[in-house]
Symmetry: C3
Subunit: 255 residues, 3 copies
């Protein structure tokens, strides 16, 4: 199985699928192609949340503002998964999560060599570099792909880590990591922070802690533990990010 | 085959696909993931229109404003199809249509037991309750899934029926059920109402009855029989809902 | 393999998939369903760019403003590919490209007979005419489908050709063919025009010629060779079409 994720919208992902289908009969599953354009951090967050639900697979990820520059192409082994994409950090949070779920010692990061302007366009590496690489990794297998010509251990690579919240004396200072399509503002504060609380002050204003959106009336604010296990600011049948007045990257104080 | 439909947008459906792929090699086909958020009625309409075109399959449907409350999880047998989703009516119109197309006596409604907060998050039952249930129904087979542990006949369930039009003396009083992406306003008045008419008055104003959008000039109004067999208010290369000044739920008077 | 492309948005493509799955186990791959509505030229452009990356396949294309009129349904053989869709030109640029990539002498255009209102609705030929035809072409095979009943050589058909640029004395007068989702304005001027140039005047104003978007600072204009091999007007992490003040169909003068 090869999963595909990008910020390409449409129809560019189809070219990647064609390129892969020329090289392997692997099953293709779309993760998302509407990640915010060139937003490496948001893509990295969602991949970390979603990829661990898949069985062993090769995950092709192309959110790549540096396409055509000298940033490397990476292939990472993480447990019984592999990830293929640009060297800008987008793969790392998911790779660590996949490795940890597999009890793998750690992620193993490799560089995939290519020639810009020769084997590849300078503007669409998803089609010309990463899709062929993902197909080759799939055909070689997660255990063996690093033995192929043109795959070498990465001497260094761009990492990306999400900020950690500060939690002390029952207070938490966290950050909004992403806002999902429903308008739920997902913070970096672990859900356990809400254990035993019936309400919490968010930036000074109180909101009820609930297990279900529908536990409050339509249009009312609530704080809950989202499906990713983090504290989430939400509105039943509405948009939490608007009601709480927060955006991605904003600090959030809970008490 | 398992089809997937939701109001999740992206990337949440991918988590459901991963969960299913862990449990079965069933082919996955997306019906839609952009149903209007938490709009049970619109989703129910489209599912009734689209699912009957599929061969025998398990249809996973998650439009679920009550996620995390005590609303049940259902699995319905309808002819040689099964439907899995929340107990809020969204499955029933399609289930009845599938049963009727199969000459099945009726739909058989079962409840799938789960523990909120134990086997499931309280905010993402699509991933934690319905996707695993759909995979299990698929593996057990449409004929046998009700014999599994944790599947019990539903003692009651939420139904959903679309309003019937009133047709008398050549006049019809109907309702706009949905507006599609082209702007076509789909009513509940059966297409036969237009038989033999060259024009019809819609809320008092005359519009031509045509078989094809392009039978009138670009930008002109027409009334036609849509692909669902119902009377549809349309504009050639434009938006019927705007030109006729109607929205979902509006009454429409034809004469 | 059957690929699907349309301007249907959602959920109409699912009905086509169901209809096909009733008739064949062929693998289904979406190319795009969000082509601009009823915009035959834009769809034709993208299909020409994307379809050549696929292995041998049947390509189902439904951008069809003339649905329900007497325009024909076509099935075209192009090398080891087939294309199925309406007779409005949308298939031809891709068909020629596929034939040329296969060293096929030329495209062979056939008409697929159907009865409006009998075997087909008048408003959704994607479901009732083209999807069944694509399944049948797939089952018969690209080499043999024209031998089937109801498939006859087309006596004539609508063609569509993109305008050619004028290039003389180092000046080029071209046209914006499409704007992609990133805002890149794709012209019809071949990329070779930029060979050896460090900058180019676009409608009189100078912009640097670069191989990568990120070669200029975020928000700055550049001219590059896009993944289709044509001159593209772009902005690093921004929208080229806005910065250059161009829209589809606009003339562009390079010097």
């Amino acid at each position: 199985m090869i999963t595909l994720a990008s910020d390409f919208g449409s129809p560019y992902p189809a070219a990647m699928k064609g390129v892969i289908a020329q090289r392997t009969d692997a099953r293709l599953v779309d993760v998302a192609h509407d990640f915010p354009r060139q937003d490496v951090r948001t893509a990295a967050f969602w991949l970390r949340e979603v990829l661990p639900y898949f069985p062993s697979a090769v995950h092709l990820v192309v959110v790549d503002p540096g396409v055509g520059t000298d940033r490397a192409a990476l292939a990472i082994r993480a447990g019984d998964h592999a990830l293929v994409g640009p060297d800008n950090g987008v793969l790392l949070p998911a790779a660590r999560e996949l490795a940890s779920a597999s009890d793998a010692a750690d992620v193993a990061v490799f560089e995939v060599e290519y020639e810009d302007g020769e084997t590849a366009s300078t503007t669409f590496h998803g089609r010309d570099v990463f899709a062929p690489a993902a197909a080759e990794v799939h055909e070689a297998g997660v255990e063996r792909f690093h033995e192929r010509d043109g795959v070498v251990p990465a001497e260094g690579y761009e990492d990306l880590r999400f900020p950690e919240p500060e939690i002390e004396d029952g207070r938490a200072v966290g950050e909004v990591l992403v806002v999902d399509g429903f308008g739920n503002a997902v913070t970096n504060v672990p859900g356990e922070y809400l254990d035993g609380r019936e309400s919490v002050r968010v930036d000074g204003e109180s909101a009820p802690v609930e297990r279900a959106y529908a536990a409050v009336d339509a249009g009312r604010r609530l704080v809950t533990v989202g499906s990713h296990g983090n504290v989430e600011l939400a509105v039943n049948r509405g948009r939490g990010e608007a009601a709480f007045g927060v955006a991605v990257g904003d600090e959030v104080r809970l008490s």
